[in-house]
Amino acid sequence: MPLLDIKNLTLEIDTPLGWIKALDKINLSIDSSEVRALVGESGSGKSLVVKSIVGALPDRWKVTADRMNWKGRDLLSMSDSQRRAITRSEMSVVLQNPATSLDPSATLQEQIEESISDSQLDRGWFWQRRQQRRLIATQQLHKVGIRDHDVCLASYPHQVAEDISQKFALAMALVSNPKLLIADNPTMGMETTTKIQVLRLLAKLNKTRELSILFVSHDLLAISAMADTMTVLYCGQTVESGKMSQLKRRPLHPYTKALLDSAPSFRRDLPPKAALSSLDGTIPTLQHLPIGCRLGPRCPRAQKECVKMPDVRRIHEHYYACHFPLHRDKT
């Protein structure tokens, strides 16, 4: 049984221009100790997926799903407090703008120590336990690349630089030993050396503690070093998902291919300053979606049939939604 299992997640939000479907039948599942990458164009809905999973959306927005289970229990029918209990102990999240999710009125020390549960401490007198808490917090900060732990812990959120609050949010998400880490662009803007340290740390936790990770990122190099599986979003829909190695070698969906082709680090033959490959045009707004396949107007392979929305098809564990997938011309 997967740890997290989402089938046909749909999110409707109200905008000044009326209700729109920001997410449309998203499928996503994560097994124990699986690292899944979630990628897609800016504005395709990755952060909304993350926020739907942890319930960090305005109440009036409508989240529906055929299935949205955490270890077999339905998240959507749970009470708020039950859900919070899960996000506190088993499922940790780092949102895209971590600074905004910290409590402005408490020091960072208070916040991180609150996330350390009693079960992580040995028995002892209360002052010994206090010291243990402090020690666990400090060690965790070092692991994510914060060197000056004393200053960091004594500060309030507004007093630390942006990169520190980002690293801190990651430390806080990991300190409770979660089963699943959901991280929305956790290494964005991080110096390369720390980024690699963090990726190693996550890989190690994945091996030794079976930590599962939902890794939202634009960093294809990091993703391909880390992830077992990948889900690609475009315009609020899942367009392809499957094993990382397979998607990278033989992407079936034209958008996935365009995405992979556009990273210069993947293409070592490229002369300096040569134009990078990218899809023409831009992702449509949710208010004015094209009829049929949403990639249609930009897709190099589009044909007449594409005015009909493609169904999700499946070859073994590889899912895709396209009438004319790549590499399958004969069928």
Binding site: E41, S42, E191, T192, P264, T285
Partner: protein, 258 residues
């Protein structure tokens, strides 16, 4: 030929006013460099090494303690001239995008302040610029909170380009963009450089992009310039310890992938 931008002995040192004040006690040692028209310079360095500070000094958001900045060989006297000629894309869009304004008004503001365009011409310019950065004319009616992180980043790029600057200073302009839009933006900037001779200074932790588009690199460490030179020289023969570590880390990541 006079360089587009000449920076000599620029330095910054903030006296501690309050204990916790921003940049408390941070100093930037004197540094100098030149930028030619159409040239791209990348600034690299650890978090907190002073990159954003240097960028803010260049555009005049922060005032240097000493040193000089010349544009086309002339000192910059007028604020207005400077605002128009040297534009900045801030690292965090919350510093530059007012949440209470629609994107249309955000983009119109610099046009009203710095140009003589009438409202029809402004509207046309706004729609053109939105398209240029890969957004749609209808986005002008959106507010900041309705956009994803990467879309905000693109609006920031639009806001910087709308005045046709000579120098663009961009603080992490690509970090929030997905690879495909990132490539689009990079292509756009390279085209503007070829067509208009735009000088481009950017800060980035993305060594793949740095290597691909920059002519020269500055490396900062704790407010000191530790290394500067041609891009391929620095990637192939890094001198300082810090740069060596950085390049090795990057190469490790690439080879792990292969």
């Amino acid at each position: 030929m006079t360089p587009l931008l000449t920076v000599s002995n620029l330095s910054y040192c903030k006296k501690d006013k309050s204990w916790f004040g921003k940049n408390a006690g941070f100093r930037l040692d004197p540094l100098s460099f030149e930028l030619k028209a159409g040239e791209t310079m990348a600034i690299m360095g650890e978090n907190g090494s002073g990159k954003s500070l240097l960028a803010k000094l260049l555009v005049g958001v922060e005032r240097p303690n000493a040193g000089e900045i010349l544009l086309n060989g002339e000192p910059l006297h007028h604020k207005r001239q400077r605002f128009q000629a040297i534009r900045m894309i801030f690292q965090h869009t919350k510093e530059s995008l007012n949440p209470a304004l629609t994107l249309g008004s955000l983009l119109e503001e610099p046009l009203i302040l710095n140009t003589e365009l009438d409202s029809r011409a402004r509207k046309r310019k706004i729609e053109e610029t939105l398209k240029l950065v890969g957004m749609l004319p209808e986005h002008q009616f959106f507010y900041r909170h309705m956009l994803s992180e990467g879309q905000r980043q693109r609006v920031a790029v639009a806001r910087a380009l709308i005045l046709n600057p000579q120098v663009l200073v961009a603080d992490e302009p690509f970090a929030a963009l997905d690879p495909s839009v990132r490539s689009q933006t990079v292509n756009l900037l390279m085209k503007l450089q070829r067509d208009l001779g735009l000088g481009f200074i950017f800060i980035s932790h993305n060594l793949g992009i740095v290597r691909h588009i920059s002519d020269r690199i500055l490396v900062l460490e704790e407010g000191k310039l530790v290394e500067s030179g041609k891009t391929d020289v620095i990637f192939n023969w890094p001198k300082s310890d810090y740069t060596q570590r950085l390049i090795h880390a990057y190469q490790a990541l690439i080879s792990r992938d292969a």
